[in-house]
């Protein structure tokens, strides 16, 4: 079996002012063992909610349905206690802002020890030496000393490294990363991405990385899923999607990315994503799509298979294919 995580028809609903709205509207995805899946999308497309749904983390009143399988195990039917045993242990998560993801009143080392202690019965001294080893592994100099630092005493890049070390503490099978480099400057960003690849090679873990940055996606992805308004609109191998995007939204995203040597005005996708409280009928991208027709606004398009393991949800694909200029 090559899939580590299999998500099927995932729906995450919230109540907003007594009305039920869905932030994730039927997402199906596979994460391959030892590979990186990048989820690409704008702010508010439901990427982060989906990522949290994998860990069954939801605000009060939210409902998650569908199926999430880690290996052979269904995660959505697990008890809260069982989920606590999985979080941080088999699935770990990294957040965008390392400063706020670390408790300001704890020394960095203590927080990592806490994670290990939640899942493994080991002595304090042993946990400490493990933490020092981890911090060294993620490239933090003189780890024994840095363990005693408070989060505010570290630089942004160092903090993100510490958070990564915390995620690696129990050698998870799957690492979820929610825009892990967005808060960092570009040089540090490149270092952190390289670190991700190195730890992936060493631990053989799968990574799900959420980003809105196509550059990051191109650098990291084995597979890409493009998310729009709570749905996957295109999914496939990174190479195919970046070189021959099928869905008009993906085409728009790629064209809105500056390229080397490009002159003139950068093109942008007109309009705004639809509000979660007012989802249109049919294709949710139709209102912003340059190629939309009347049928698009009636029924949501199904996925069209488009080459090997490459799918996209658009009516146009049945006849013509949109091509990036």
């Amino acid at each position: 079996m090559t899939e580590l995580l299999k998500i099927d028809n995932l729906v995450t609903e919230f109540s907003i002012q007594k009305k039920r709205v869905s932030a994730v509207r039927g997402v199906s995805l596979q994460v391959r063992k030892g590979k990186t899946l990048v989820i690409l999308g704008e702010s508010g497309s439901g990427k982060s909610v989906m990522l949290r749904s994998i860990l069954n983390l939801k605000p009060a009143g939210a409902r998650i349905s569908g199926s999430i399988k880690l290996g052979e195990e269904e995660l959505l039917t697990k008890s809260p206690k069982e989920m606590e045993g999985i979080r941080g242990n088999r699935i770990a998560m990294i957040f965008q802002d390392a400063l706020s993801a670390l408790d300001p009143l704890y020394r960095v080392g203590e927080q990592i020890v806490e994670t290990i202690a939640a899942h493994r019965k080991i002595g304090k001294a042993e946990a400490k030496s493990q933490v020092a080893e981890l911090l060294g592994k993620v490239g933090i100099p003189s780890p024994e000393e840095r363990m005693r630092a408070f989060p505010h005493e570290m630089s942004g890049g160092m903090r993100q490294r510490a958070v990564i070390a915390m995620a690696l503490a129990c050698k998870p099978d799957l690492l979820l990363a929610d825009e892990p480099t967005t808060a960092l400057d570009v040089t540090i960003q490149a270092q952190i991405l390289r670190l991700f690849k190195e730890i992936q090679a060493e631990y053989g873990m799968s990574i799900v990385l959420v980003t809105h940055d196509i550059g990051v996606a191109a650098e990291m992805a084995d597979d890409i899923a493009v998310m729009y308004a709570g749905k996957i609109v295109e999914y496939g191998r990174a190479r195919q999607i970046l070189s021959a995007p099928a869905h008009p939204y993906t085409v728009g995203l790629i064209e809105a990315t500056p390229k080397r040597g490009q002159k003139g005005k950068l093109s942008a996708i007109p309009g705004q994503p639809p509000l979660i409280t007012a989802m249109p009928e049919g294709c949710s991208f139709a209102d912003r799509c340059p190629m939309a027709r009347s049928s698009c606004r009636e029924v949501t398009p199904a996925f069209t298979h488009y080459g090997e393991a490459h799918i996209a949800a658009c009516y146009l694909l049945e006849e013509e294919q949109p091509v990036a200029q």
């Binding site: 860990l55 983390l57 009060a60 206690k81 606590e84 045993g85 999985i86 979080r87 941080g88 242990n89 770990a92 998560m93 957040f95 802002d97 706020s100 993801a101 670390l102 408790d103 300001p104 009143l105 704890y106 806490e114 994670t115 939640a118 899942h119 060294g136 592994k137 993620v138 490239g139 933090i140 100099p141 003189s142 000393e145 840095r146 630092a149 005493e153 570290m154 630089s155 890049g157 160092m158 958070v163 915390m166 995620a167 503490a169 979820l176 540090i188 270092q191 390289r194 670190l195 190195e198 730890i199 060493e202």
Partner: protein, 298 residues
């Protein structure tokens, strides 16, 4: 085995981290910049120490009276703060009585911090129905005027210092719970709480380690500011005869006892009041400065 080369930023941060003064030192530096607070702290320490060491410091026993020494003025030889109608030395009675008075100022706040803090954290962290039930129940208690409620409870339980402590505790639970609730609500939204959840921490562990540690400062500062108030409430109850029974010295009750001398010896009469006032004022000044100092850096 380092996978990645260390960056210059890391070593620079390391250098500054080493030289940063400790947190305690920072708080003390900010606190001691306020001369008034410093003076208040000295006064407070003097009063507390003198009361604790009363058997060694006080010139007389608390109940040693001599008929010949009755109704001495403040400043009389051998009786610096005068004597009462039974010839007992006021200074000695103040020092011995201070132990009970201070205890009835500190203990209710301490108990209320534990109980109210616990209720508030539970309400704030778990939210929803838990919050509604706990906070609305406390609102009912809160809706009574504090002093009246304390008098009511004390009167119902009967006179005695332990009943004063109980009634004062009840009065101070709701405000402390409110502070704890709002602080816990704030902390609950922090990303490190979510990060702790994603690392597999259960609610118990999160509350114990992250929530309590992060709201401790707020509760501590508020509670210390309430000790002065509590001292006044307890003294007030005692003044009304709901506290100690004679001849045990206690500031509030002494005030009651001496009030009959107000036309004979007016200055002696107000001595216990001055001690209540001084202690309460110093406590407030210290807690004020402390709250500023603690907010220096998070």
């Amino acid at each position: 085995m380092a996978i990645n080369a260390p960056t210059a930023g890391g070593t620079a941060a390391l250098a500054t981290a080493g030289r940063e003064p400790s947190r305690a030192a920072q708080i003390w530096k900010s606190f001691s910049r306020r001369k008034v607070a410093l003076a208040a702290l000295v006064v407070l320490l003097l009063i507390v120490l003198a009361c604790l060491l009363a058997p060694w410091v006080a010139p007389y026993g608390p109940n040693d009276g001599a008929v010949t020494d009755r109704l001495k003025e403040v400043g009389s030889a051998g009786h610096v703060l005068g004597t009462d109608e039974q010839g007992r030395d006021i200074l000695s009675r103040i020092l011995y009585g201070g132990r009970l008075s201070l205890l009835s100022g500190v203990l209710p706040v301490l108990l209320a911090s534990v109980i109210g803090g616990g209720l508030g954290v539970a309400a704030g962290y778990f939210g929803g129905w838990t919050n509604t039930i706990i906070m609305r129940a406390l609102d009912i208690v809160f809706s009574f005027p504090a002093i009246l409620l304390a008098i009511g409870i004390s009167a119902a339980l009967g006179p005695g210092i332990s009943n004063i402590i109980i009634s004062a505790t009840v009065v101070f639970i709701p405000p402390i719970a409110r502070i704890a609730e709002s602080a816990a609500k704030e902390v609950r939204k922090e990303e490190f709480i979510e990060a702790a959840k994603t690392s597999g921490a259960g609610a118990g562990l999160i509350v114990r380690s992250h929530v309590l540690r992060n709201i401790f400062g707020k509760i501590f500062v508020f509670s210390t500011s309430q000790i002065g108030v509590c001292l006044m409430v307890a003294s007030g109850l005692s003044f009304l005869g709901l506290g100690v029974s004679p001849p045990t010295p206690e500031w509030g009750f002494m005030l009651n006892n001496l009030k009959q001398l107000i036309f004979v010896n007016p200055v002696v009469t107000i001595v216990p009041g001055i001690f209540i006032f001084l202690t309460s004022l110093s406590l407030n000044l210290v807690s004020d400065a402390l709250s500023d100092a603690l907010e220096l850096k998070r």
